[in-house]
């Protein structure tokens, strides 16, 4: 069974407020405690905030991985696909940051992947492995690790929707569904590319 990267971005309070009373949760990342306060009557919940914050870090690492492709001699299709992930997810980071700032929540930046670990994100060892590979070996490692990374994103959405009252705020809802549609399809595309790489 594939082991998912451990989640250390732990929710300590499960309560949330969707048009309900205020709620406060403390999330822990990299040793710091960041309080999430959801005001009374807000259309979203603590889990929505955590999802948007965590997905910024998750996306940021995917972009970091994608930007390795050019200097590691990825084949043209893999390179193009990496560029696509870069261009797609940078736009989504902006959307997530704007959502968080709009609701007065802390918005992680694109370096947050270095301190936050979400499902499917690469370990230090995996990052080093990817960054030292070139050519077909890079293509293979990139596709394999990006599939793992994308599957983590799908897990994050699953966890979001499994949380009571979460995932209803419309922009979070649409975005989370988009993550599923797009990343499921991209996993399919990556599997196709992986199966068409030349043998080792």
């Amino acid at each position: 069974m594939p082991s998912r990267a451990r989640i250390i971005f732990v929710t300590l309070a499960a309560c949330a407020a969707l048009f309900g009373p205020p709620s406060i949760a403390a999330a822990q990342h990299a040793g710091h405690k960041v309080a999430i306060t959801v005001p009374a009557g807000a259309p979203y919940t603590v889990a929505d905030v955590e999802f948007m914050q965590g997905m910024i870090a998750h996306h940021a690492q995917a972009i970091h991985m994608s930007r390795m492709a050019e200097k590691r001699g990825a084949n043209p299709r893999v390179l193009r696909f990496a560029m696509k992930i870069d261009q797609s997810q940078i736009a989504e980071i902006r959307l997530m940051q704007e959502w968080l700032v709009h609701y007065g929540q802390a918005a992680p930046d694109t370096s947050s992947w270095r301190t936050m670990t979400m499902a499917g994100m690469l370990t230090e060892a995996q990052l080093a492995e990817l960054d030292s590979a070139t050519g077909v070996a890079f293509d293979r490692a990139f596709l394999r690790l990006m599939i793992q990374h994308h599957e983590g994103a799908l897990q994050m959405v699953k966890d979001l929707f499994a949380t009571n009252l979460a995932g209803q705020e419309i922009d979070v809802n649409v975005f989370a569904n988009d993550v599923v549609s797009v990343q499921t399809a991209e996993i399919g595309v990556m599997r196709q590319m992986l199966s068409q790489l030349p043998p080792k």
Binding site: K158, I170, V174, V189, L194, K200
Partner: protein, 606 residues
């Protein structure tokens, strides 16, 4: 066919053509590039199109920022246009396109609210987590209040639509497509495309998650099919699942054989897991009942499906393309031999038409259907303008413009505007017309960090998600649903690539009811503009010698000045001459089509 052979065939379809025509622009000189931003004061660029009217959203929906009150898709019937919204829908009376009148606005939280109108019944897609059975705001506190599926409204009194039924589906309804019963006009099928996972069976009985596409009991890997007796819509229910995805995953590896390239288990090697890579949902499917076909835009695949029996659809082909990550929607050519697919790169909320955005992604691709009903992929098309980082932009919904002798469609590109594309030659799509406004939002100022503000206060600028959700030609005008700015009505204007006669011929095609995802077959009436459309095309593309086109033009003018029998005789005589032009013409098919149009005009002359 053996198991392995079957997958071999499917595998072959996955090989991506590398020599597809791709545009090399965007072009910074395009008049749409660098338009002044502003919600109401934006710069405008148009080509062969004019804005007839823009009407602001109904008051309850008028807010910006986020998708809560965004407009969505359109449906058409009689003198009404039905406009979906994430928080309900509006009904417009468009008797006077210069002044559409709001007949009613229904507030009912229903993201994303795509509408279909069949007679007096309005069907609305409901997907979001906060949609409730009672339509109210406030979110779903108790799962039994959750409504995800298709709402049915009775709009026989358009001033007071009445909710008659919520049909729950296991994956909700992102979009849906009406498919008439092949014989019984009282029976309608609704194919439901839902993008979510299966809802828990405590919420909707019988729903089940699963990873095996061939497992008939799981709720994924199927399109829910709702059967509606139009006389008893309150009895509408899901009757079956269209299992059009089975077999779309590559052959699973033998469990004993390790994956090629697997590097141990560090961090989790997922490549050995026999998980399906094929889609389990479609984003959108377009039915073409006249051809008994359905084109499915389904994640990483574009599907072709035979729907002769709507309860037992049969997949004919599936096309994958690594440039298209999200096959989004489809439009058939009128002869049913081509399909335009769109790719919703960035989900519609992201700016994917910038100078550095890749041209093969987030646009259209054109597929032809051969005699064995298999797809062949041809070119890509993307609007050539440079849009800004403030403009969410990607190819989106549209439909055909009934120009005789050509395949022409209009579509919305969100803040990329409205664009008209000719795909008569699937290898060389061309843009004929457009309408575009500058961004709704001005670019952010520099050196203002996107700093986190602590605490629970509101505020903070959000980009406005706007632009044309869908643009459709209906009875002479182009109707565009602007997510933020309201409701646009546009009219084509002649230019060197689209003549006055072609525009007039298009205007002669009338549909009482038009649901773009259930494409009607276009038939042109016998009329002079139809004949002259072919003639204009022969002149424009040198399909027939100039002396002949000039003579035919004069003969048509002379015939039109006559009435009754003399006109009929003149037209029949002309048709005989035109038949002789077929041999030797550079474009004999078009000459034949013109001759047929002259003959039917003669026949219709009394």
């Amino acid at each position: 066919m053996s198991f392995s052979r079957k997958f071999l065939v499917i595998g072959a379809a996955l090989i991506v053509p590398t020599l597809l025509n791709a545009q090399t622009y965007p072009n910074k000189e395009d008049p749409r590039s660098n338009l002044k931003p502003g919600k109401d004061s934006a710069g405008v660029a148009t080509k062969n199109m004019r804005l007839v009217s823009n009407t602001k959203k109904a008051e309850p929906f008028d807010t910006s920022g986020g998708l809560t009150f965004a407009n969505s898709d359109l449906a058409f019937r009689d003198k009404y246009v039905y406009q979906g919204n994430f928080s309900g829908f509006s009904i417009w009376d468009v008797s006077d396109p210069a002044k559409p009148k709001l007949v009613s606005t229904v507030q009912c939280v229903t993201s994303q609210g795509d509408p279909t109108i069949i007679g007096n019944l309005l069907f609305i897609s409901a997907e979001g987590g906060a949609n409730r059975n009672d339509c109210a705001k406030g979110g779903v506190k108790d799962p039994k209040d959750h409504m995800a599926g298709v709402r049915i409204f009775d709009v026989s009194n358009p001033a007071q639509p009445r909710l008659v039924k919520n049909v729950q589906t296991c994956k909700g309804s992102h979009t849906h497509t009406a498919l008439p019963h092949p014989k019984d006009k009282n029976i309608l099928y609704i194919y439901v495309s839902g993008s979510g996972g299966a809802r828990p069976n405590t919420e909707v009985a019988g729903c089940k998650e699963g990873t095996d596409a061939a497992d008939e009991t799981n709720s994924l890997f199927r399109l829910d099919v709702i059967k509606v007796d139009l006389r008893n819509p309150e009895k509408a229910e899901v009757v079956t699942g269209a299992r059009i995805f089975t077999g779309l995953e590559p052959a699973p590896r033998a469990a004993s054989r390790p994956a090629r390239g697997g590097r141990g288990r560090a961090g989790g090697d997922t490549t050995t897991a026999p998980r399906p890579t094929g889609p389990r949902n479609c984003h959108d499917v377009t039915a073409y009942p006249a051809a008994k076909l359905l084109a499915g835009a389904c994640g990483s695949y574009g599907l072709l499906v035979d729907v002769s029996n709507p309860e037992k659809p049969v997949r004919l082909d599936a096309k994958a393309d690594t440039n298209f990550s999200l096959w989004h929607t489809a439009v058939f050519s009128n002869d049913g031999k081509k399909v335009v697919f769109t790719d919703e790169w960035g989900g519609g909320t992201s700016p994917m038409c910038q100078a550095n955005s890749m041209m093969e992604m987030g646009g259209n691709t054109i597929l032809s259907i051969d005699s064995k009903r298999k797809y062949k992929q041809h070119a890509y098309f993307k609007i050539p303008s440079v849009q800004t980082a403030e403009e969410n932009c990607v190819s989106h919904n549209g439909g055909l413009i009934p120009v005789p002798g050509r395949d022409v469609m209009v579509q919305g590109w969100y803040q990329g505007g409205v664009s008209v594309m000719d795909f008569t030659d699937p290898a060389n799509p061309k843009e004929l017309a457009y309408f575009d406004r500058g961004a709704i939002d001005a670019p952010p100022q520099v050196d203002v960090p996107l700093a986190a503000t602590q605490g629970g206060g509101r505020g903070g600028r959000r980009s406005t998600i706007g632009g044309s959700w869908g643009a459709y030609y209906w009875n002479g005008y182009i109707y565009s649903s602007e997510m933020d700015r309201g409701f646009d009505i546009l009219e084509l204007e002649p230019g060197d690539q689209l003549s006055k006669n072609e525009i007039e011929a298009a205007k002669l095609v009338r549909f009482v009811e038009y649901n773009p995802q259930s494409q009607p077959k276009i038939e042109w009436p016998a009329a002079f503009p139809v004949v002259r459309s072919y003639l204009d095309q022969l002149v424009r593309w040198n399909g027939l010698a100039t002396d002949r086109t000039t003579a035919i033009a004069s003969a048509l003018d002379a015939a039109e000045r006559q009435t009754g029998k003399p006109r009929r005789d003149a037209l029949n005589a002309l048709a005989k001459l035109v038949d002789r032009d077929v041999t030797g013409a550079k474009d004999p098919e078009r000459v034949k089509a013109m001759s047929a149009a002259i003959k039917s005009l003669a026949k219709a002359t009394r």
